[in-house]
Amino acid sequence: MSVKLNTRQVGDVSVVDVAGRITLGEGSSALRDALRDMVGKNHKKILLNLGEVSYIDSSGIGELVSGFTSVTNSGGQLKLLGLTKRVKDLLQITKLYTVFDVHEEEASAIRSFA
Protein backbone atom coordinates (compact mmCIF):
# COMPACT_ATOMS: atom_id res chain seq x y z
CA MET A 1 0.00 0.00 0.00
CA SER A 2 1.24 3.46 -0.84
CA VAL A 3 -1.11 5.90 0.82
CA LYS A 4 -4.78 6.08 1.76
CA LEU A 5 -6.60 9.34 2.35
CA ASN A 6 -10.01 9.72 3.89
CA THR A 7 -11.68 13.10 4.35
CA ARG A 8 -14.35 13.71 6.95
CA GLN A 9 -16.07 16.82 8.23
CA VAL A 10 -16.03 17.74 11.93
CA GLY A 11 -18.10 20.91 12.22
CA ASP A 12 -16.50 23.34 9.80
CA VAL A 13 -13.14 21.58 9.92
CA SER A 14 -12.13 19.17 7.17
CA VAL A 15 -10.11 16.35 8.68
CA VAL A 16 -7.94 14.33 6.30
CA ASP A 17 -6.87 10.99 7.72
CA VAL A 18 -3.68 9.94 5.96
CA ALA A 19 -2.30 6.40 6.25
CA GLY A 20 0.70 4.74 4.66
CA ARG A 21 3.67 6.19 2.83
CA ILE A 22 3.96 9.73 1.52
CA THR A 23 6.82 9.28 -0.92
CA LEU A 24 7.62 10.45 -4.44
CA GLY A 25 5.05 9.07 -6.85
CA GLU A 26 1.62 7.85 -5.87
CA GLY A 27 1.83 8.91 -2.22
CA SER A 28 2.85 12.52 -2.67
CA SER A 29 0.58 12.92 -5.73
CA ALA A 30 -2.45 11.71 -3.77
CA LEU A 31 -1.79 14.21 -0.99
CA ARG A 32 -1.24 17.04 -3.50
CA ASP A 33 -4.47 16.21 -5.35
CA ALA A 34 -6.49 16.02 -2.12
CA LEU A 35 -5.24 19.38 -0.87
CA ARG A 36 -5.72 21.06 -4.27
CA ASP A 37 -9.25 19.72 -4.39
CA MET A 38 -10.04 21.10 -0.94
CA VAL A 39 -8.55 24.51 -1.72
CA GLY A 40 -10.54 24.50 -4.97
CA LYS A 41 -13.70 23.80 -3.03
CA ASN A 42 -12.89 26.68 -0.69
CA HIS A 43 -12.26 24.60 2.43
CA LYS A 44 -10.67 27.01 4.88
CA LYS A 45 -9.98 24.81 7.89
CA ILE A 46 -7.98 21.70 7.14
CA LEU A 47 -6.54 19.29 9.69
CA LEU A 48 -4.12 16.69 8.33
CA ASN A 49 -4.11 13.64 10.57
CA LEU A 50 -0.72 11.99 9.99
CA GLY A 51 -1.03 9.50 12.86
CA GLU A 52 -0.96 6.49 10.53
CA VAL A 53 1.79 7.74 8.24
CA SER A 54 4.57 5.18 8.40
CA TYR A 55 7.03 6.87 6.07
CA ILE A 56 7.59 10.26 4.50
CA ASP A 57 10.44 11.37 2.23
CA SER A 58 11.65 14.77 1.05
CA SER A 59 8.98 14.77 -1.66
CA GLY A 60 6.29 14.19 0.98
CA ILE A 61 7.72 16.99 3.10
CA GLY A 62 7.62 19.18 0.00
CA GLU A 63 3.93 18.39 -0.45
CA LEU A 64 3.20 19.33 3.16
CA VAL A 65 4.97 22.66 2.64
CA SER A 66 3.24 23.31 -0.70
CA GLY A 67 -0.12 22.43 0.82
CA PHE A 68 0.49 24.72 3.76
CA THR A 69 1.46 27.58 1.44
CA SER A 70 -1.47 27.06 -0.89
CA VAL A 71 -4.06 26.83 1.91
CA THR A 72 -2.59 29.86 3.70
CA ASN A 73 -2.51 31.89 0.48
CA SER A 74 -6.17 31.12 -0.10
CA GLY A 75 -7.00 32.54 3.32
CA GLY A 76 -7.31 29.20 5.09
CA GLN A 77 -5.48 27.29 7.79
CA LEU A 78 -3.74 23.92 7.54
CA LYS A 79 -2.74 22.18 10.76
CA LEU A 80 -1.14 18.84 11.55
CA LEU A 81 -2.35 16.15 13.95
CA GLY A 82 -0.74 13.10 15.52
CA LEU A 83 2.78 13.10 14.15
CA THR A 84 4.67 9.84 14.47
CA LYS A 85 8.19 10.10 15.87
CA ARG A 86 9.61 9.61 12.40
CA VAL A 87 7.62 12.46 10.87
CA LYS A 88 8.22 14.74 13.86
CA ASP A 89 11.99 14.09 13.70
CA LEU A 90 12.02 14.92 9.98
CA LEU A 91 10.14 18.18 10.47
CA GLN A 92 12.53 19.12 13.26
CA ILE A 93 15.65 18.31 11.21
CA THR A 94 14.34 20.40 8.32
CA LYS A 95 13.37 23.29 10.66
CA LEU A 96 9.75 23.00 9.60
CA TYR A 97 8.31 21.80 12.90
CA THR A 98 7.69 25.33 14.15
CA VAL A 99 6.22 26.40 10.81
CA PHE A 100 3.24 24.10 11.28
CA ASP A 101 0.64 24.25 14.04
CA VAL A 102 1.00 20.70 15.37
CA HIS A 103 -1.50 19.01 17.69
CA GLU A 104 -1.58 15.69 19.50
CA GLU A 105 -5.31 15.48 20.28
CA GLU A 106 -8.00 15.81 17.65
CA ALA A 107 -10.50 17.56 19.92
CA SER A 108 -8.08 20.33 20.88
CA ALA A 109 -6.91 20.60 17.28
CA ILE A 110 -10.51 21.13 16.13
CA ARG A 111 -11.05 23.76 18.84
CA SER A 112 -7.87 25.61 17.83
CA PHE A 113 -9.39 26.66 14.49
CA ALA A 114 -10.74 30.08 15.36
Binding site: E63, R86, T94
Partner: protein
Protein backbone atom coordinates in the same frame (compact mmCIF):
# COMPACT_ATOMS: atom_id res chain seq x y z
CA UNK B 1 24.55 -20.27 21.99
CA UNK B 2 25.34 -21.80 18.62
CA UNK B 3 22.72 -19.52 17.07
CA UNK B 4 24.29 -16.49 18.72
CA UNK B 5 27.75 -17.41 17.40
CA UNK B 6 26.37 -17.83 13.90
CA UNK B 7 24.60 -14.51 14.15
CA UNK B 8 27.75 -12.68 15.22
CA UNK B 9 29.76 -14.35 12.51
CA UNK B 10 27.20 -13.33 9.91
CA UNK B 11 27.36 -9.74 11.14
CA UNK B 12 31.11 -9.53 10.69
CA UNK B 13 31.30 -11.21 7.32
CA UNK B 14 31.98 -8.83 4.47
CA UNK B 15 29.21 -8.84 1.90
CA UNK B 16 28.50 -6.83 -1.24
CA UNK B 17 25.40 -6.62 -3.39
CA UNK B 18 25.55 -4.89 -6.77
CA UNK B 19 22.74 -4.21 -9.22
CA UNK B 20 22.21 -2.32 -12.46
CA UNK B 21 18.76 -0.83 -12.04
CA UNK B 22 16.24 0.70 -14.43
CA UNK B 23 15.47 4.40 -14.09
CA UNK B 24 12.12 3.85 -12.39
CA UNK B 25 10.55 4.52 -9.01
CA UNK B 26 10.29 0.74 -8.52
CA UNK B 27 14.09 0.69 -8.55
CA UNK B 28 14.09 3.25 -5.73
CA UNK B 29 12.03 0.87 -3.56
CA UNK B 30 14.18 -2.08 -4.61
CA UNK B 31 17.46 -0.35 -3.73
CA UNK B 32 16.10 0.76 -0.37
CA UNK B 33 15.01 -2.81 0.43
CA UNK B 34 18.41 -4.25 -0.50
CA UNK B 35 20.34 -1.66 1.53
CA UNK B 36 18.14 -1.99 4.60
CA UNK B 37 18.31 -5.80 4.38
CA UNK B 38 22.11 -5.75 4.30
CA UNK B 39 22.25 -3.15 7.08
CA UNK B 40 20.01 -5.36 9.18
CA UNK B 41 22.35 -8.30 8.63
CA UNK B 42 25.25 -6.04 9.62
CA UNK B 43 23.57 -5.42 12.98
CA UNK B 44 22.39 -1.82 12.67
CA UNK B 45 19.56 -0.83 15.03
CA UNK B 46 16.08 0.32 14.01
CA UNK B 47 16.90 4.03 14.12
CA UNK B 48 19.94 3.61 11.89
CA UNK B 49 18.01 1.33 9.52
CA UNK B 50 15.47 4.11 9.04
CA UNK B 51 18.20 6.66 8.35
CA UNK B 52 20.04 4.37 5.93
CA UNK B 53 16.79 3.57 4.11
CA UNK B 54 15.87 7.22 3.74
CA UNK B 55 19.36 8.24 2.60
CA UNK B 56 19.35 5.51 -0.05
CA UNK B 57 15.83 6.45 -1.15
CA UNK B 58 16.77 10.14 -1.54
CA UNK B 59 19.96 9.25 -3.42
CA UNK B 60 18.13 6.86 -5.73
CA UNK B 61 15.45 9.47 -6.43
CA UNK B 62 18.18 11.93 -7.37
CA UNK B 63 19.73 9.36 -9.73
CA UNK B 64 16.46 8.20 -11.33
CA UNK B 65 14.55 11.48 -11.48
CA UNK B 66 17.12 14.28 -11.64
CA UNK B 67 20.06 12.33 -13.11
CA UNK B 68 18.66 9.84 -15.62
CA UNK B 69 15.28 11.64 -15.90
CA UNK B 70 13.44 8.28 -16.08
CA UNK B 71 15.28 7.55 -19.35
CA UNK B 72 14.69 3.87 -20.15
CA UNK B 73 18.06 3.68 -21.89
CA UNK B 74 19.97 4.81 -18.81
CA UNK B 75 20.79 2.65 -15.80
CA UNK B 76 21.59 3.30 -12.18
CA UNK B 77 24.56 1.38 -10.82
CA UNK B 78 23.82 0.53 -7.21
CA UNK B 79 26.04 -1.28 -4.77
CA UNK B 80 25.97 -1.75 -1.04
CA UNK B 81 28.63 -3.45 1.02
CA UNK B 82 29.14 -4.17 4.68
CA UNK B 83 32.05 -5.16 6.85
CA UNK B 84 32.47 -5.28 10.61
CA UNK B 85 32.84 -1.50 10.84
CA UNK B 86 30.51 0.12 8.34
CA UNK B 87 28.02 0.02 5.51
CA UNK B 88 28.91 1.69 2.23
CA UNK B 89 26.41 2.51 -0.53
CA UNK B 90 27.41 3.66 -4.01
CA UNK B 91 24.87 5.00 -6.48
CA UNK B 92 25.87 6.18 -9.95
CA UNK B 93 23.65 7.60 -12.68
CA UNK B 94 24.27 8.43 -16.34
CA UNK B 95 22.75 11.88 -16.26
CA UNK B 96 24.12 15.33 -16.96
CA UNK B 97 24.76 16.17 -13.32
CA UNK B 98 23.99 19.33 -11.43
CA UNK B 99 25.83 22.02 -9.53
CA UNK B 100 26.14 20.15 -6.25
CA UNK B 101 28.73 22.56 -4.90
CA UNK B 102 26.26 25.44 -4.73
CA UNK B 103 23.12 23.92 -3.30
CA UNK B 104 20.98 26.36 -1.34
CA UNK B 105 20.50 25.67 2.38
CA UNK B 106 16.92 24.32 2.66
CA UNK B 107 16.75 25.43 6.30
CA UNK B 108 17.51 29.08 5.52
CA UNK B 109 14.53 31.35 6.00
CA UNK B 110 14.23 32.25 2.32
CA UNK B 111 14.17 28.54 1.31
CA UNK B 112 12.04 27.12 4.10
CA UNK B 113 8.85 27.17 2.04
CA UNK B 114 10.34 25.69 -1.10
CA UNK B 115 8.70 22.43 -2.12
CA UNK B 116 11.99 20.74 -3.05
CA UNK B 117 15.71 20.81 -2.34
CA UNK B 118 15.85 18.84 0.93
CA UNK B 119 17.11 15.47 -0.38
CA UNK B 120 20.86 15.96 -0.11
CA UNK B 121 20.44 17.82 3.17
CA UNK B 122 18.66 14.75 4.62
CA UNK B 123 21.28 12.36 3.23
CA UNK B 124 24.04 14.37 4.89
CA UNK B 125 22.07 14.45 8.14
CA UNK B 126 21.49 10.69 8.21
CA UNK B 127 24.86 9.30 7.11
CA UNK B 128 28.35 9.60 8.61
CA UNK B 129 30.02 10.27 5.28
CA UNK B 130 28.65 11.62 2.00
CA UNK B 131 30.70 12.12 -1.13
CA UNK B 132 29.59 13.14 -4.58
CA UNK B 133 31.67 13.23 -7.74
CA UNK B 134 31.30 13.61 -11.47
CA UNK B 135 31.98 10.56 -13.59
CA UNK B 136 33.58 10.43 -17.04
CA UNK B 137 32.09 10.53 -19.64
CA UNK B 138 28.95 11.57 -17.73
CA UNK B 139 26.88 11.05 -14.63
CA UNK B 140 27.29 11.44 -10.91
CA UNK B 141 28.25 8.99 -8.23
CA UNK B 142 27.38 9.36 -4.58
CA UNK B 143 29.02 7.37 -1.81
CA UNK B 144 27.24 7.03 1.51
CA UNK B 145 28.86 5.54 4.60
CA UNK B 146 27.24 4.61 7.89
CA UNK B 147 29.56 3.41 10.62
CA UNK B 148 28.49 0.81 13.17
CA UNK B 149 29.35 3.27 15.92
CA UNK B 150 28.15 6.58 14.54
CA UNK B 151 30.11 9.73 15.17
Amino acid sequence: MAVLRMSNQSRHEAETVERFLDSTLESVDHAEDIAVGLAKRAGFGEDDLTKIGMAVRESMVNAVVHGNRYNANKKVRFSVSKNSESLTVRIADEGEGFDFENLPDPCAGENLFRSSGRGIFLIRSFMDEFQIRRLAPGGLEVVLVKRMVSK
